[in-house]
């Protein structure tokens, strides 16, 4: 009990001694899943020894099956953009269910400002506005989309931050509201025939470019800026963040705005890629985006996860979808499997957390 039983200091700051990053686990899981499909290709009699990702038959430039690789990443790129936003919302301790319908509504609005006047020499049969809205520079529909996203996000965030209702409820309301907007906009009619400039935004591999570029941007923002640190802090212990002087309410509004703007940008890319906007676009996208984040190690309790994790989660998602098609399983099995994988990922996260707590 004497005063001399003091600590002896001994502070260690070891750069090399860092915790095993969770992203590596997801990467290993990704490789294992590819391996399973590779093996299934060899084992299943009707597959006739086809390979999932490799293709050496009569080719010398590469051993990879580029066509499938492209499809895998292309089909997750647009939902992946939404998942970047979902990741930030979930890290901050919230959830955003409105992203899918927001994609539909934003696509309708954006496409209305991206239409071309003449289609094969005839007036645009799907024109929403008059001539003033025809053949606008490509920046106009993009900015309109982002502004719409920012507005929706600000409403989501303000409802959650200032009325204190659960994010689940606030964004569920917006889920229905935004789907209503997308149907009301043209009373269900599709909006089509964009300008060439707008069509270029989502053509070819452009969705993949946008996905990866935005992933890098938001990885930097989350990892190295005040915005990121406070997002983690709020998700980890909201009371502590508030007591420490962080303006939690304003920060939440910002997070939901960013997430909704990402969803709106996904709508830009998607409608550009499809050359049309339809009121039903984006169905289940919010759930797939959340699934990508959760598979990628983003904890639904907030405070943990990363953008690289979500990108890997999106890849796992794409590989599984593509793999199921490759082994010729029907789409309803895909849904069932996806459901199990999402629940499994959350269970794994829970175990990991409990183990971490015991070690302490």
């Amino acid at each position: 009990m004497a005063d001399t039983t003091q600590g002896t200091g001994g502070l260690i700051y070891d750069k090399s001694k860092r915790a095993w990053p969770n992203e590596i686990n997801i990467f290993i899981a990704l490789i294992l899943i590819i391996g399973v499909f590779e093996a299934l290709g060899q084992i299943l009699p009707y597959m006739q020894g086809q390979s999932f990702l490799f293709d050496t038959s009569g080719r010398f430039d590469s051993i990879f099956n580029e066509a499938r690789l492209k499809i895998v990443i292309l089909q997750v790129a647009i939902i992946g953009i939404i998942a970047l936003g979902s990741t930030q919302v979930i890290i901050s301790g919230g959830i955003d269910l409105s992203a899918g319908p927001l994609v539909g509504a934003a696509a309708m609005i954006v496409m209305s400002f991206a239409q071309t006047e003449l289609v094969n020499g005839n007036p645009n049969p799907k024109a929403v506005f008059g001539l003033w809205a025809m053949d606008l520079p490509v920046i106009v529909p993009v900015l309109v989309g982002l502004a719409f996203g920012a507005l929706i996000g600000a409403i989501n965030g303000s409802l959650i931050a200032y009325t204190g209702i659960p994010p689940f409820i606030a964004t569920l309301g917006m889920f229905l509201f935004a789907r209503g907007i997308s149907r009301w906009w043209t009373e269900g009619q599709p909006v089509s025939f964009p300008t060439e400039g707008f069509a270029a935004l989502g053509s070819g591999m452009m969705p993949v470019f946008w996905f990866l570029a935005l992933a890098v941007l938001f990885h930097v923002l989350l990892r190295y800026t005040l915005y990121g640190k406070r997002t983690y802090a709020i998700g980890s212990n909201e009371d502590a963040a508030r007591m420490s002087g962080i303006n939690v309410k304003r920060h939440k509004v910002l997070v939901y705005m960013i997430a909704a703007m990402l969803a709106a940008f996904a709508a830009v890319v998607l409608s550009s890629k499809n050359l049309t906007a339809q009121a039903g676009m984006g169905q289940f996208y919010e759930l797939y985006a959340i699934a990508m984040a959760v598979i990628g190690g983003v904890s639904l309790t907030g405070g943990r996860g990363s953008i690289p994790g979500t990108v890997l989660g999106a890849m796992v998602f794409g590989v599984i979808q593509s793999g199921f098609t490759y082994v010729k399983l029907d789409a309803y099995y895909q849904l069932m499997a996806m459901g199990m994988i999402i629940v499994g990922a959350v269970v794994l996260d829970k175990w990991r957390q409990q183990r971490g707590a015991k070690m302490g």
């Binding site: 009990m1 005063d3 039983t5 003091q6 600590g7 002896t8 200091g9 001994g10 502070l11 260690i12 700051y13 070891d14 001694k17 860092r18 915790a19 923002l221 190295y224 800026t225 005040l226 915005y227 640190k229 983690y232 802090a233 998700g235 980890s236 212990n237 009371d239 502590a240 963040a241 508030r242 007591m243 420490s244 002087g245 962080i246 920060h251 910002l254 405070g303 943990r304 971490g356 707590a357 070690m359 302490g360």
Partner: protein, 280 residues
């Protein structure tokens, strides 16, 4: 404004510590009622710069209520609080902190998923490229250097400051919370039973930090049940009983015994100047 200043000066010579600094905190007639419960009644309390005061008393004596009024966690029923020469009315703990009152509560305000440096600088992050607004970049290097310096001063043993708080022991967490107050040189530090849940060695570490604060001339209000700790680290003991202050004991002379203090806590004794009807 000027009236108040002279008021405080007139209070000066009534105080036993003429050699200590000027008054940093004064409460007059501070009262808190929860409905019909008189949790705190008419508390007159003075703290000078550089002074370490212990608040003792049984559970329910009004210690924590007193601290909650000062830190703005609750709003007082009646009375005045003067901090650093100004009458204050904190709407919340954040305002109190901005004014320079740093409190370490038993429930620690730490973010589990962040590392030591992040927690130390939570809400006060060092940044660069500030023109980027909310997206300005964190100056990790400066924060880590400051964290190492702060923790070296406190002699706290933490294996790796890049570990998240989640996996740390109670003592390590408590030390991180206290190191926060020591790092930012608050005008007044308040600790509410900082060692209640700690082991012997961890308690010693916390007491070491308290001594560092004393050497730096930083005032402290320490709520504690640990008589040895109070005798070792404080200049004065203020005893609360049934919502009222019943004793104000200078212990710098070393002639005050633990038994004497206990007799005030239990109600066997009351200092004459605090002997009001209804206390005993």
């Amino acid at each position: 404004m000027s009236d108040m200043q002279t008021d405080i000066h007139s209070a000066d010579h009534e105080h036993p510590h003429g050699n200590l600094g000027e008054v940093i905190l004064e409460t007059r007639g501070l009262t808190k009622h929860y409905g019909g419960v008189h949790a705190l009644e008419d508390a007159n309390f003075t703290l000078r710069k550089g002074e370490h005061v212990a608040i003792m008393g049984d559970n329910g004596a009004g210690k924590s209520t007193f601290v909650r009024q000062i830190t703005g966690v609750e709003q007082r029923t009646r009375g005045d609080i003067y901090f650093d020469g100004q009458p204050v009315h904190f709407a919340g703990p954040l305002e109190a902190r901005e004014a320079g009152i740093e409190a370490v509560f038993q429930t620690l305000a730490l973010a589990d998923d962040l590392d030591v440096a992040d927690n130390l600088f939570l809400g006060r992050e060092k940044t660069k490229w500030n023109w980027l607004g909310p997206f300005r970049f964190l100056d990790y290097k400066a924060m880590r250097q400051d964290t190492i310096a702060a923790l070296e001063k406190t002699a706290v043993k933490i294996p790796n400051i890049r570990n998240t708080i989640q996996n740390m022991s109670g003592g390590q967490r408590q030390c991180v919370a206290i190191a926060r107050t020591a790092t930012f040189h608050s005008k007044l530090t308040i600790m509410d039973e900082p060692t209640a849940a700690l082991g012997v060695q961890e308690t010693a570490q916390v007491e070491n930090i308290i001594r560092t604060l004393k050497e730096a001339g930083e005032p402290l209000i320490l709520i504690s049940h640990n008589m040895r700790q109070v005798m070792d680290t404080c200049d004065r003991i203020v005893v609360f009983r049934r919502g009222r202050i019943c004793a104000n004991i200078d212990i710098t002379g070393g002639d005050v015994t633990g038994e004497e203090v206990v007799s005030y806590i239990t109600g066997a004794k009351t200092q004459p100047e605090y002997d009001v009807e209804g206390l005993t």
